[in-house]
Amino acid sequence: KETFEGHQVLRIVPKDEVQLALIKDLEDMSELDFWTDVTDVAYPVDIRVPFDSLMVLKAHLMSQDIDYTIMIDDLQVMLDEEQQEMESAARLGQPRS
C-alpha cells in the first residue's frame, strides 16, 4: 500500500508570465503530482511534493523568488484521518445492518 508520509501539498500563485513559465516547467518532473494545473497568472497551482523532493523544490522556488504556501503539511496524516473516519462510520453502521 502506497503511503504519503511527509508529502506536502504546496500552493503557488504565479505573479507574472515569467513565474508562470517557470512553474509550467516543473510539470516535466514526474515525481511531482499537480493537483491543479498551471493555468494563468494569479490562479493557484497545487502540487503534491514527495518528502524527498521537498527541500530541492523549495530551494528552487525561493531562488526564483516564487512564493508558496503549504496547503497540506503532511498528506498521510489527512489520509489516516479519512481512513479512521470511514472505519468509524462502518462500525457505527454495523448494528443497524
Binding site: W35, T39, D46, I72, M86
Partner: protein, 305 residues
C-alpha cells in the same frame, strides 16, 4: 436507501449495493444498465431514470472518471437518491422525467476507484497495463477529440497519459458506444473535483464552439443558481480559456457528436483540502451542485434541438 449515510465516503461495494437497493425500491423509475466492463472486469453500471417511452431524449451525468476525486462519486450517489425523492414532488424535475430520461454513471472508473481504496488514495487514472511500470491512462485525455495534441502526455508515467490511441480505455469506449447507439442524448455533464469551475467545450482548440454564446449564458445562470445556497464561487467558460489546453477530453468529443449541452464541473473546494475533502462537505457540495444541474437540465428540456 433511506438509511444510507450520504455524509460519509463509501467504497465500491457499498456504492454498488446502494445502486441495487435504489433499483429494487423504485422499479418503475430506476433501472441499472451495464454498459461494459472495466479493464479489470468490473461492471460499468449506469442508473437509468425513466418514466417510460422508447429512446426518449436523455441527459447523461457521470462522476468519478478521475478515481481520487471522491466527492464526485459521493455526490453522484446523493444525486441518485435526490432524483427518486424529488420525482413527483418537485415540479421541475417531474416535468423533466416525464419527457426525458436521465442516465447517471456514479463510478465511471471503478478499477481506479478500487485502487484508491486499497493501494493508493491519490490515484487518478485507469488501471490498464501500459507497457511500463506506470500502469494507467488518464481517461479524460483518451477521447477522440484532438487526441494526442497539446495538454496530454505520451509518457505512461504522467498523470495525464493519454493512452496508446483514442478510446483505448474500455471505460471510455463503453460510454462512446452507448452514446452512439442511444443517439438521442441532449445534455452530457461530466463531473470532476476540485477548484470550482463549470466549463464547456473546447479544451483542445481555441476555436469557439458555434453555441458559445448560449453555453456561456447557461453556465453563468447555473453557477449563479449554485451560489444561492452557500455563496460558493465558481469560474466558468470554455475549458481552454478557464483552465488549460487539454486534448482528448470528454465533453469535446460529446459536443462534436452533436450533444450541444456538454459541460464539465470541477466541484468544491478552493484548495484547502483538495482530493481529501472532509466528508462533512459531501452533502453541501452535492446540494449546491444539484441546483446547477437542474438549471442545465431545465434548459435542455425547454430548448429542444
Amino acid at each position: 436507501t433511506d438509511t444510507f449515510d450520504f455524509s460519509r465516503y463509501h467504497n465500491l461495494n457499498e456504492i454498488s449495493s446502494f445502486q441495487d437497493m435504489l433499483v429494487a425500491e423504485n422499479p418503475s423509475l430506476v433501472s441499472k444498465l451495464v454498459i461494459g466492463q472495466s479493464y479489470q472486469g468490473r461492471p460499468l453500471n449506469v442508473l437509468k431514470f425513466s418514466t417510460g417511452g422508447t429512446n426518449r431524449p436523455a441527459i447523461w451525468i457521470d462522476t468519478g472518471i478521475h478515481s481520487r476525486e471522491w466527492v464526485t462519486q459521493a455526490s453522484g450517489t446523493w444525486f441518485a437518491k435526490k432524483i427518486v425523492t424529488d420525482f413527483g414532488k418537485d415540479p421541475a424535475l417531474t416535468t423533466i422525467l416525464n419527457k426525458m430520461d436521465i442516465f447517471l454513471e456514479i463510478v465511471t472508473n471503478p478499477d481506479g476507484f478500487y485502487y484508491t481504496h486499497s493501494n493508493n488514495r491519490m490515484w487518478r487514472k485507469t488501471r490498464k497495463p501500459s507497457g511500463s511500470g506506470c500502469y494507467g491512462v488518464d481517461p479524460n485525455r483518451n477521447w477522440d477529440a484532438g487526441f494526442g495534441g497539446p495538454g496530454a502526455s505520451s509518457n505512461p508515467c504522467s498523470e495525464t497519459y493519454r493512452g496508446p490511441r483514442a478510446h483505448s480505455e474500455s471505460e471510455v469506449k463503453s460510454i462512446v458506444d452507448f452514446v452512439r447507439s442511444h443517439g438521442n442524448i441532449k445534455a452530457f455533464i461530466s463531473i470532476h473535483a476540485y477548484s470550482q469551475m463549470l466549463m464547456y467545450p473546447y479544451g483542445y482548440t481555441r476555436t469557439a464552439v458555434k453555441d458559445q454564446a448560449e453555453l456561456h449564458a447557461l453556465a453563468q445562470r447555473a453557477i449563479s443558481d449554485l451560489s444561492t445556497l452557500y455563496g460558493t464561487r465558481y469560474r466558468y467558460g470554455s475549458i481552454i480559456n478557464t483552465i488549460y489546453q487539454a486534448s482528448g477530453g470528454t465533453i469535446d468529443w460529446t459536443y462534436n457528436q452533436g450533444i450541444k449541452y456538454s459541460y464539465t464541473f470541477e466541484l468544491r473546494d478552493t484548495g484547502r483540502y483538495g482530493f481529501i475533502l472532509p466528508s462533512n462537505q459531501i452533502i453541501p457540495t452535492a446540494k449546491e451542485t444539484w441546483l446547477a444541474l437542474m438549471t442545465i437540465m431545465n434548459h435542455t428540456l425547454n430548448n429542444p434541438y
